[in-house]
């Protein structure tokens, strides 16, 4: 039974220092902000945005993450047809539609990309945030795509996995963006009813309304090394309370110590870790017990006799009446 050791200590779970902005270099070269190693775009891609020298985790796009996580890099998009509009006719330093257009020009269609995929042979649905699209901010499209991803997980009876990276709610959609927090919670409640696992991977940074909604409600929660995880960012806190924050404030490793994260996981190991987790959680769909059997088990033979006479009772009704929905996990 060769496998990784199970007696994980906090020390071994510790990750690395926080990320800074990568320096711009000529051509496609990059430099690691922590160890200053230079490497090419190919090396960067091969290491899924992790510095091979020191393990620093660079930001990574949602599609690159999906390609990396999915068996054979194959995944089927969910909710791609959804696009942002400008319900408030919002203007700050720039009109909102212009911001959307320039974000879209970089190749993504929104700050959340969802797909159906297999990881180590296990079917799942993934909802991956992209910090490159308006700071991963959560607007109406993010909320609706997340909801459709959850719907699909319920349809398939499989786990939902999310990788978060977000500055929070999208200011430019005002209170409608705020409401997406509640909308994401509704989706989690649907998963709860279906008995399906919700797995969260916190990437740098996960802040504001995303941390204060679905991102903090994982059944199992991983975080990438050095990821900042906070409701209020360090700058806001320092300005408000005039307290000097520790240099590792809100970082994944510190959040682990404070009980908010199950494990700090290197991005390069994420597909294997998720595969193992999905394998453990996998539950074959259970036979829905017959109404007659249930009522009999509950000790009322008379009612059970009646129920046996009711083959027309739909499964859906049966589930609702008995308060026991189908229990499914894994694929």
């Amino acid at each position: 039974m060769a496998r990784r050791p199970i007696s994980i200590s906090i020390d071994r779970l510790r990750g690395r220092a926080p990320a800074q902005k990568p320096a711009k270099l000529p051509g496609d070269e990059r430099s690691c902000p922590r160890c200053e190693t230079h490497f090419s775009a190919q090396e960067f891609a091969r290491n899924v945005g992790v510095c091979a020298a020191c393990g620093h985790h660079f930001p990574l796009g949602a599609r690159a993450r999906l390609d990396h996580m999915a068996d054979g890099g194959r995944w089927t998009p969910i909710g791609e047809e959804l696009r942002a509009i400008d319900p408030l006719q919002f203007v700050d330093l720039q009109p909102y539609p212009e911001r959307i257009r320039s974000a879209e020009a970089k190749g993504n269609t929104e700050a959340l990309v969802c797909g159906e995929l297999a990881i180590s042979g296990q079917t799942c649905v993934a909802a991956i945030m992209d910090f490159g699209f308006l700071g991963g901010s959560m607007g109406s499209v993010v909320g609706e795509r997340f909801a459709r991803a959850a719907d699909r997980a319920v349809e398939l009876g499989c786990p939902l996995i999310t990788v978060t990276s977000s500055g929070g709610a999208r200011m430019q959609e005002g209170v409608l963006a705020l409401m997406q927090m509640a909308k994401s919670i509704v989706s989690l409640d649907e998963l709860n009813d279906a008995g399906l696992p919700f797995i969260v991977v916190l990437a740098h940074p996960t802040t504001g309304g995303v941390w204060a909604s679905f991102a903090s409600l994982g059944d199992i929660t991983y975080a990438e090394p050095g990821a900042l995880i906070a409701f209020s960012g360090p700058r806001v806190i320092e300005q408000t309370t005039r307290e000097k924050l520790p240099s590792d404030f809100g970082l994944a490793e510190r959040q682990l110590e404070h009980g908010h994260v199950d494990s700090v996981v290197d991005r390069r190991e994420l597909p294997a870790r998720l595969g193992s987790l999905l394998r453990i959680l996998h539950q074959p769909p259970r036979p829905v017990p017959s109404l007659a059997g249930q009522l009999a088990a509950n000790g009322s033979e008379g009612a059970a006799r009646i129920a046996r006479a009711l083959p027309q009772l739909s499964r859906r009704l049966r589930d609702r009446v008995l308060g026991e929905g189908p229990q499914r996990g894994g694929q």
């Binding site: 999208r170 209170v175 209020s232």
Partner: protein
């Protein structure tokens, strides 16, 4: 009767009734000032006026008690109801004690204790929202501010009995929404509901908290707009000049609304209430949907802002 001190009368009536056009420009800023008026009734004022008997609960059973949230059971029209609210202070000392109505995780977790009791006894749950946001502090973060807000929403969503959230002053950020996942969400006429406070938004968007007025104009967080966007199900009228000019009348209007709404919601089954509540939030948002065959980025059709009156 704990009626608040009366402030100077506001002569200008700044908010149109919800059928009218939205409030623009400087008027939005005035609306925000009115929503924050220091003589505006707070939850304990409404509770005092509407619920002659009230038992406040204290503490989260984990770490402490947060005075920025008041929670308890009140006797309302001869039945027990669970009531919660963000409580600001009126004078300097009280304001500090209440932390300006900015809760920490202890406040939301006290709220979840109340939700647990409400679930067990099937009590209607009434939330009175009035906060500039959850408290931004390192300790609050380390005790799980984000998770407390998220879990508060989830717990509230699952309550079996009728739930009503009323924005009575300023509802800003997740700190407000934590108590806002209800069957019915309504706003007092001069209240505001926004993704963030104008100051917070200005600091982010203009990198200058002084640009709060600009931010307010961009967010347009008035009751009339929120009604139009489907964020508020109704707008409860306030007395001429604002709730602070006549708190008893403000409470009476709220009473009329709550009584009627609880009667409506009481008639539904637990399952129906849950379904309606989920559907309500599932629908909120404004986006467009490309037709199935469109070639990705360029398509513009099928605009479907799904907000609007519920």
């Amino acid at each position: 009767m704990s009626s608040p001190t009366r402030g100077p009368r506001f002569v200008r009536r700044i908010t149109q009734r919800f059928a009218g056009p939205e409030v623009e420009g400087g008027d939005v800023w005035d609306a925000i000032q009115l929503a924050r008026h220091q003589d505006r009734p707070y939850p304990l004022d409404y509770i005092g006026m509407l619920m002659p008997d009230f038992e406040e609960i204290h503490g989260d059973r984990l770490h402490g008690d947060d005075a920025a949230i008041v929670a308890g059971i009140g006797r309302y029209h001869d039945r027990p109801v669970a009531v919660i609210g963000h409580q600001k202070g009126r004078d300097a000392k009280d304001r500090a004690y209440r932390n300006f109505g900015m809760p920490g995780p202890e406040g939301y977790r006290k709220g979840m204790r109340l939700m647990e009791l409400a679930a067990k006894m099937r009590l209607p749950f009434i939330a009175l929202i009035d906060t500039p946001g959850a408290f931004p502090g390192a300790d609050a973060e380390e005790r799980g501010q984000g998770g407390a807000i998220a879990r508060s929403m989830l717990t509230m969503l699952r309550l079996p009995a009728p739930t009503v959230a009323v924005v009575i002053g300023e509802g800003s950020s997740g700190g407000a929404l934590a108590l806002g996942v209800a069957d019915r969400v309504v706003m007092l006429e001069n209240s505001t509901y926004s993704v963030i406070s104008p100051e917070g938004g200005a600091a982010i968007l203009w990198r200058d908290a002084g640009k709060a007025k600009l931010a307010a104009q961009a967010f347009k967080p008035t009751a009339a707009n929120c009604y139009r966007w489907g964020v508020a199900d109704a707008v409860v009228p306030e007395p001429h000049g604002g709730a602070h000019t006549n708190p008893e009348e403000a409470a009476r209007q709220l009473d009329v609304y709550l009584t009627r709404t609880l009667r409506e919601l009481d008639a539904l089954s637990v399952a129906d209430r849950r379904r309606i509540r989920r559907d309500r939030f599932r629908r909120i948002g404004a986006q467009r949907e490309l037709p199935p065959d469109s070639s990705a980025l360029m398509a513009q059709s099928a605009e479907s802002p799904s907000g609007g009156a519920a």
